[in-house]
């Protein structure tokens, strides 16, 4: 009985500690949303979590201050394109690396491993000149090409390879007997079975593209081509000081939908990231 009681007490203490620790993880989101509704005077006055006066106009001004709807759409379609392309290319390469024995596979793996270790900052300067030589400055192309073929694409390739390694061989043999080509086996047998892996890769890739910052910062200059993270850092007055309420309103608009999707699919999303760590 006493042991049970200490156990319960222990639990309560732990839970209290965890709740306290959760504050810096949760409070910023609440403060962001609250700040988005406040007036400038209230933002710098005594702090209140619930705004005294709700300024819904902030959210309208976000869209007139810069082409925010357009920027939102840019982020969406770029992330979607990057995700689809990555799924296609990474599952092809991942399949070959896992299921076909061919000369050079080992060396290729080694090279790809290298790409995993090297930060984008290292190759960004030559890539800038490459993109400029291709005439693609201030277009969305580098934001699609670099993530698909860069380290993030390699992560995706590895995840797909890990999954395909565990695929039972009999299924492929059966497919070949039925006269399917390699491509057919990949498309009709391997891919449908890889749905969980494809979902994991899709989640990680989409979020990576959605949150990409260095590349947009370097390659984009026209406001209507900006992506969301770049747009968010751009709510400043003529002195370069942040327009806090607009910036927080815009940040809420960018973060809350992702947060809602995360809350709905949190299990799947967390598992995808857990998978991505196993790659090392």
């Amino acid at each position: 009985m006493t042991q049970r009681r200490t156990e319960i007490l222990y639990r309560i203490c732990w839970t209290m500690a965890l709740l306290l620790l959760a504050v810096p993880f949760v409070f910023p989101f609440l403060w962001m949303i609250s700040g988005g509704f406040k007036s400038t005077t209230e933002i710098f006055g005594a702090p209140t979590l619930i705004p005294r006066v709700w300024r819904f106009e902030n959210f309208a001004e976000v869209f007139t201050y810069q082409p925010f709807a357009r920027q939102y759409f840019n982020s969406l379609y770029i992330a979607a394109t990057v995700t689809v392309l990555t799924l296609f290319i990474a599952s092809l390469a991942g399949y070959a690396l896992a299921r076909i024995r061919f000369a050079g596979a080992g060396l290729l793996m080694l090279f790809l491993m290298m790409a995993l270790m090297v930060p984008e900052e290292v190759t960004i300067i030559p890539n800038f000149f490459l993109i400029r030589a291709m005439g693609l400055i201030d277009t969305h192309w580098p934001l699609i090409l670099l993530p698909v073929f860069g380290p993030q694409g390699v992560v995706a390739t590895f995840l797909m390879r890990q999954f395909f390694l565990a695929l039972p061989r009999e299924l492929e043999e059966a497919g070949k007997m039925d006269g399917l080509s390699r491509f057919g086996v990949w498309l009709k047998i391997a891919l449908p079975m890889a749905r969980p892996a494809l979902a994991a890769v899709a989640i990680i890739t989409f979020l990576h593209s959605w949150n990409l910052f260095l590349e947009p910062l370097i390659f984009l200059s026209s406001l209507e081509k900006f992506t969301l993270p770049l747009a968010l850092s751009n709510f400043n007055d003529s002195y370069g000081l942040p327009l806090w309420n607009l910036q927080l309103a815009a940040t809420s608009l960018a973060v809350v939908p992702i947060l809602i999707i995360y809350l709905i699919a949190q299990r799947q999303i967390i598992e995808s990231f857990a998978l991505s760590g196993v790659k090392g």
């Binding site: 270790m117 290292v122 947060l259 967390i270």
Partner: protein, 306 residues
């Protein structure tokens, strides 16, 4: 065997042996990845060696060969460089242990089911899916000297908080802590996955023999976690050396270059001051640092495995 080979050989390419055909298919499958890798990674990596030996005049857009001048400048002449390396090292030394210790503690608390476990996992992981820019914007807002939420809260318990992002030492601490809060969920999840793969029998057997919680952790759990710990250490250290967006949004490298770290310095030199050759040399130095860190840890890991 022979009959199966025949069955698998398509009518469309009868002149190729099965092995050659397999080979061709494999290379076709990996070719998009391979071409992308050569064009956007390996090519640039080789080019960085060339760029690092040049000096650029932005007006003429001409590169002049200057040999090792840029490296000489970075390593011997420009005091900024060592200041930046020092900042990067401080950032890593602050972030990596803090992140890993917190991640492990959280994972130990949340690896077994109990009422509310999903809630806590969800909460601690939420910043991971949030963009670093958004996270940095909100924290910059909360860390303002006057009227910032953090200082208002500190005032309740009688502490007069500093102007966090305006004083070099506090700014660095603030950037490290907010970055840890942003990223710790990822390592927590990796640790939880590892903890869940440890058979409970070991720990239960030890507990039955009268081992305390701490002893069970020290003698059983921690050694079994070693491979995971090393992977997490590599990933977190590399991650800390490439931190950019967080710094860009929160401090812009300031105040007094107090948070100017390597990744930000490369961006600043290359894309703000257009010292392209110098920035390329810096990038190469960063490459060497990251590679060295990785290799050391891979070797440690191999040793551990043996």
């Amino acid at each position: 065997m022979a009959s199966r080979d025949n069955a698998a050989r398509p009518a469309s390419a009868p002149w190729l042996s099965l092995k050659a055909r397999e080979m061709l298919e494999a290379w076709l499958f990996v070719s998009p990845t391979l071409i992308g890798f050569l064009v956007f990674f390996l090519g640039p990596l080789v080019a960085i060696f060339y760029y690092s030996t040049t000096e650029w005049n932005l007006l003429s857009q001409q590169a002049t060969f200057v040999g090792l001048r840029n490296f000489q400048n970075a390593l011997l002449e420009n005091p900024d460089f060592w200041h930046v390396v020092r900042n990067s090292v401080i950032f890593a030394l602050g972030l990596v242990p803090l992140n890993m210790a917190l991640a492990l503690s959280l994972a130990l608390a949340l690896s077994r089911p109990f009422f509310g476990v999903v809630f806590f996992r969800t909460v601690f992981f939420a910043p991971v899916v949030t963009s670093a820019i958004a996270w940095a914007i909100v924290w910059k807002f909360m860390l303002q000297g006057e009227g910032g939420a953090v200082n208002q809260m500190l005032a309740w318990i009688g502490i007069d908080g500093p102007n966090w992002l305006r004083e070099p030492n506090w700014a660095m601490a603030a950037v490290i802590v907010t970055r840890v809060i942003k990223m710790v969920g990822l390592n927590m999840i990796l640790y939880i996955a590892a903890l869940q793969s440890i058979p409970r029998d070991y720990e239960e057997a030890a507990a039955l023999e009268g081992a305390s919680r701490w002893q069970v952790f020290r003698m059983i759990t921690w050694p079994l976690l070693a491979p995971t710990t090393l992977v997490i250490m590599v990933l977190t250290t590399i991650g800390s050396f490439k931190v950019f967006d967080h710094i860009y949004q929160m401090t812009g490298g300031g105040p007094e270059n107090g948070t100017l770290v390597l990744a930000f310095y490369i961006y600043q030199q290359g894309f703000k001051f257009f010292n392209v050759g110098y920035a390329a040399a810096l990038a190469l130095i960063m490459f060497v640092i990251v590679m060295a860190l990785t290799l050391v840890q891979v070797m440690l890991r191999r040793k551990e495995m043996e």
